[in-house]
């Protein structure tokens, strides 16, 4: 990959600072002209192609493979199997840290889920490798597959999500329910869903002696490098990962997956560079997914519609060989002010690839159930759903009693409702029709997502010519890191964005942490901000301690950095350019590092969340049951908005995911074989353009002095929460039919006419 040429012309407006400007994507021209190099676009000389053969059974073992037939096929170079593979330095089953997940990299002949890799064929062409894989004709010893919520004994997992307690409570839920004037008890089901990033998982691996070069999409390059290092017994510095662009990740590229490691092993086996790209159907298994859930909610209210208790229990599934538990019930911790709340989880093990993080893990599944239940409760109380939510508005975090670091949810409700015209909503369902006789329904949901921070580092430098450099191994998954982080970087060193060389997307740069948990802009941004401030402080030291400088004696606090100059704060007529300062000092470049990290004291003291309110209108054919979203307004408060254009795209994307969750998306698993029957984008339905009406996003002002230095809360995931429930509630309002199994199917709405 040659140096990236990022464009900032022509759509950039700038008035003063960079942060807050709706810059267009600096990598946009590269992308639309096909010049952006994604992992699979790399073709080092001599590269071979690797294709995975996958298991068609979900449980059992491989008893034979026709390796000879595959090898006889013209062009096939080698076939990697459990019996013929390069050794690993450690057993991949060993969890060396909580962020290590088990993977199938040909360590045995056991099969734990359908689509698991059972061999890798390496050939001179993709076609030869593909046919070689087909010729392997595996024979299996089949065991009955464990499928579905009732596949086996349920158990309480030790933790859910990332270290959340399996059970949490505050107050006495049973007493609260017993004392309630009205109660509801409803069970909701959500299906398995797959990330389906447009770009499949891919790797181009090249060994040079004990050095390893990898092109592979990653949401966490340094963590990925660590995993490769331990598996292959290499020092991390020997491994160089490039991941400048991802064609989406949604969590599925957060951890290196088995297939990516197989690509590295294949390259080692044949001693040549190897490319391995998953086929779409092969992404349904080894790269994580959103676990299905069955959630029971019991709510009670007093005579005035105030919640007396909220009990949220979630059943989920995990794989037979690892532990990840969708923390669905935890969605009830933060939103509604019930005096008694209990959340709990249990799970069963099934023959599936381990479910993992998928855009708003726990929050999305929990939100659609909670927002449906709140809607049901409002209706039981005869109250407008917004009025009901306001009545139960949480002034402090209900589960912990902590104050919020900031919470502009009331403003979200107000602005969203006003834009949508919510006040005209009839209380009863099935009251509205359009001119064509279609049923019209309005629903809403509250959105929330925690404002997280991870760890990141950045390196900033000012060069002799007055230009700046910011280095951080950040990840652009399509969300716009190349743009938004560069905006923060430019401001941090007081330079025009075009005077800043923003380096990102490779593992040799300072660790930007992970692009997940909607925390990348906040975390990497904080590191950039502090690195920039540090390098400016050094520059200021140089200037203010040099008697030849017009800034001499101004002291550190006495200067500000703007447009490539340090300016005396109390006398703006006295200033000096960066270039002048460095030239006089005879320094070629001045550098500093900075870090971004959570602030434990603030976290202890405050509950930190982004919030939002989503309003949806659907139309439903009264006899035929087909549903279509016709309007959706989302108002979100997520702290500081670094780039309104990118943020709007993230929120649009999230809202479309919410629509998809409510109406479309589902992996259909054969209940006998455990195979997924719609593992392709023709039949695994996600919304197409015709399903998505013009969406309306409002970003509500919110200043948060506690979350991080820049006041950023993150917008990557919140859009899906609230939205799914809003659509589902709108379907109820249109039809009077409460569907509790998602996605909502046509047959559920075929009420007798």
């Amino acid at each position: 990959m040659s140096e990236l040429i990022l464009t900032s012309a022509p759509a950039h407006l700038r008035h003063g600072s960079n942060i807050g400007q709706p810059l267009t994507r600096r990598d946009g021209i590269l992308k639309v002209t096909g010049q952006a190099t994604y992992a699979a676009d790399n073709h080092p000389p001599g590269m071979l192609f690797a294709v995975i053969a996958t298991a068609s059974i979900a449980r059992g073992r491989v008893v034979s493979l026709d390796v000879a037939a595959a090898k006889r096929h013209p062009g096939v170079v080698d076939v990697m199997t459990p019996e013929h593979k390069p050794p690993l330095a450690i057993d991949p089953e060993i969890k060396t840290n909580p962020f290590v997940f088990r993977m199938e990299v040909l360590q045995s002949n056991d099969i734990r889920y359908a689509n698991q890799a059972i061999a890798v064929v390496i050939a001179e062409t993709l076609e030869a490798a593909t046919e070689g894989a087909a010729l392997l004709a595996p024979a299996y010893e089949v065991q009955p597959a464990l499928v579905g919520f009732d596949a086996g004994e349920s158990f309480a997992p030790p933790v859910v999500g990332v270290g959340n307690p399996t059970e949490s409570h505050r107050g006495d839920v049973e007493a609260g329910l017993a004392a309630a004037d009205k109660q509801i008890d409803a069970t909701y089901e959500t299906p398995p869903q797959y990330h389906n990033a447009m770009e499949p998982h891919a790797i181009v691996a090249r060994w040079e002696g004990d050095k390893l070069f990898l092109d592979t999409p990653s949401q966490a390059m340094v963590m990925a490098r660590g995993r490769v290092a331990e598996l292959f017994g290499l020092a991390p510095e020997k491994i160089h990962i490039r991941s400048p662009f991802l064609g989406g990740g949604f969590g599925s590229k957060g951890f290196l997956t088995g297939p990516q490691i197989l690509g590295v092993m294949a390259a080692k086996l044949v001693g040549k560079p190897v490319k391995l790209v998953l086929r779409r159907e092969q992404m349904y298994g080894p790269v994580g997914h959103r676990a299905p859930t069955r959630q029971r909610l019991r709510l009670g209210t007093d005579g005035e519609g105030r919640l007396t208790a909220l009990d949220h229990r979630a059943r989920t599934v995990s794989s037979t060989f690892d532990d990840f538990y969708e923390p669905a019930a935890d969605a009830s911790h933060t939103l509604y002010a019930a005096p008694a709340i209990r959340t709990s989880h249990d799970a069963v093990r099934v023959n599936t690839g381990t479910p993992l993080f998928m855009r708003a893990p726990g929050e999305a599944t929990g939100s659609i159930a909670l927002e449906s239940a709140i809607d049901e409760m409002a209706s039981a109380c005869g109250m407008d759903p917004l009025a009901f939510r306001l009545k139960n508005y949480a002034e402090v975090e209900p589960m912990t009693g902590r104050p919020f670091s900031s919470k502009a949810l009331r403003a979200c409700y107000e602005q969203g409702a006003a834009r949508f015209g919510w006040a005209k909503r009839p209380l009863q369902p099935r009251q509205m029709r359009d001119d064509a006789g279609l049923l019209v329904g309005w629903g809403m949901g509250t959105a929330t997502f925690p404002a997280l921070m991870f760890q990141a580092e950045a390196r900033a430098a000012i060069r002799r010519d007055g230009s700046g450099v910011m280095e951080i191994g950040a990840h652009d998954m399509g969300q716009g890191a190349w743009t938004a982080l560069a905006q923060i970087a430019a401001d941090s060193v007081g330079l025009d964005i075009d005077r800043l060389d923003f380096k990102s997307g490779t593992s040799d740069l300072p660790d930007a942490g992970i692009a997940g948990g909607s925390a990348h802009t906040a975390t990497a941004g904080a590191a950039i901000h502090s690195a920039g401030a540090a390098v400016i402080a050094k520059l200021a030291d140089l200037a203010t301690s040099d008697e030849r400088s017009p800034l001499f004696g101004a002291g550190n606090a006495g200067v500000i950095a703007r447009e490539g100059r340090l300016i005396r704060r109390d006398d703006e007529s006295r200033s000096e350019s960066y270039a002048e300062i460095l030239a006089r000092a005879g320094v070629a470049e001045i550098e500093a590092r900075g870090t971004g990290a959570p602030n434990p004291a603030a976290m202890e003291q405050y509950a930190m969340h982004a919030h939002g309110a989503v309003f949806a209108e659907v139309k439903v054919d009264p006899e035929l049951g087909q549903v279509r979203l016709t309007r959706m307004v989302g108002a979100f408060a997520a702290g500081r908005i670094v780039n309104p254009r990118m943020v709007q795209s993230q929120l649009f994307g999230g809202m479309i995911w919410g629509l998809s969750f409510a109406l479309h998306e589902e992996a259909i698993t054969d209940r006998r074989s455990g195979r997924i029957m719609n593992a392709n984008l023709g039949e695994y339905h996600i919304p197409v353009n015709a399903d998505v009406p013009p969406l309306d996003v409002i970003t509500v002002e919110e200043h948060d002095p506690h979350v991080n230095a820049l006041g950023i809360k993150g917008v990557g995931e919140i859009g899906i929460t609230g939205s799914a429930g809003a659509v589902a509630n709108a379907v109820w309002h249109a039809t009077g039919v409460r569907v509790r199994r998602f996605p909502i199917r046509i047959e559920e709405l075929l009420v007798p006419s």
Binding site: K619, R628, D670, D691, I746
Partner: protein
């Protein structure tokens, strides 16, 4: 990929001869066939590419008023032919409700007629499937089968034929022109596809080497242009196969139905012509009662083949609606969302 021969015959006769060999199949646009080959569902030894044959891509009106559509006419070209859409609006609407713009630009008339079922077990080579591997069994029968057939299925196969295009075509008595080893012959489209019986692998009455060269709409088909609709219920607004669909066409004279045509899609292994329902409508006023009665008649004998009882009730409702829409008159322009229950939604962009 599996090795196969690729031949590009210069004439129809050569094509027929080349495809009469065992293991040979015709390749048109390949939007279905190549997917099946990539998945190992079809493993032909020889592809006979017909896309370069001359004279099969025309749309012509014959002296007797019939319309003849060459087998290589692209789905999109046919639907966007203004004269065609005016004369056979339900067919154009059905075409535009299928697949995506990209697929319609490629897919041919012949390929559309002979596209294979979307039964997931047919596509999944690890499943038992009597259609793909005769005698192996049918994993759909006790599997995930909510979209399977409710009419004309057998214990050996419950798959449906997925084409939208075929549904109004059978309603309008379309005729298929076939060139075979014995020369040219023609059959009614409604006779082309077979019900599964105990040989679901034999999907049509075509013999090895038989090439569809054209589809013909008889003169009478034009008579329904004023009252013809296609309606397709699906799981998203566009780019999805029908859960159930119906084509309804009426000839209304003096306030009464002089002649009705009705066919259903997504319910059986073939486009399902509902003649009994048509009979019910003959001579009656186009009112709801009559449509209800026709709908009941159309689904007589329907039975669920799995988790799909809802399709029977849905099909009845679709019949009523399609007839109601047809009676109301063909819209001047094909709706932006063709064949959709949301066709009337204003402001929608054409898909």
């Amino acid at each position: 990929m599996k090795q196969f021969d690729y031949v590009r015959p210069a004439t129809v006769t050569e094509a027929v001869a080349a495809a009469a060999q065992p293991g040979a199949v015709f390749l048109a646009a390949g939007t279905n066939l190549l997917d099946l080959m990539k998945g190992g569902v079809s493993r032909p030894d020889r592809l006979v590419d017909v896309t370069h044959l001359d004279g099969l891509d025309g749309i012509e009106t014959l002296a007797d008023g019939s319309l003849r559509i060459g087998a290589l006419v692209r789905n999109a070209d046919l639907a966007h032919d203004a004269e065609f859409a005016r004369s056979y609006p339900a067919v154009a609407e059905a075409l535009l409700s299928g697949a995506s713009a990209q697929l319609r630009n490629a897919a041919t008339v012949g390929g559309n007629l002979l596209q294979r079922t979307r039964c997931a077990y047919f596509y999944d080579t690890a499943s038992r499937c009597n259609k793909r591997a005769p005698g192996s069994g049918c994993d759909a029968r006790d599997g995930e089968n909510r979209s399977h057939a409710v009419l004309g299925w057998s214990e050996s196969c419950i798959a449906t034929h997925p084409s939208d295009f075929c549904v109004p075509l059978v309603a309008l008595d379309a005729i298929v022109e076939i060139e075979g080893r014995g020369g040219r012959r023609e059959i009614a489209l409604v006779e082309l596809h077979r019900l599964p019986g105990d040989a679901p692998d034999r999907e049509s009455v075509l013999e090895p080497g038989d090439l569809i060269v054209a589809v013909r709409l008889p003169p009478a088909a034009r008579g329904f242009a004023a009252h013809a609709r296609y309606l397709k219920v699906r799981e998203r607004t566009s780019y999805a196969f029908a859960v159930v669909s119906a084509a309804a066409a009426l000839r209304i004279e003096n306030g009464r139905i002089a002649e009705a045509r009705l066919a259903l899609g997504g319910v059986a292994a073939k486009p399902w012509r509902a003649r009994a329902a048509e009979d019910v409508l003959k001579g009656v006023a186009p009112i709801a009662d009559a449509f209800q009665k026709a709908a009941r008649r159309a689904l007589e004998g329907a039975k669920p083949s799995g988790d799909n009882a809802f399709k029977i009730e849905l099909a009845r409702r679709i019949v009523v609606r399609a007839l109601t829409l047809a009676a109301a008159g063909t819209p001047a322009r094909i709706p932006a969302l063709p064949a959709s229950p949301f066709a009337s939604t204003s402001g929608a962009l054409h898909v």
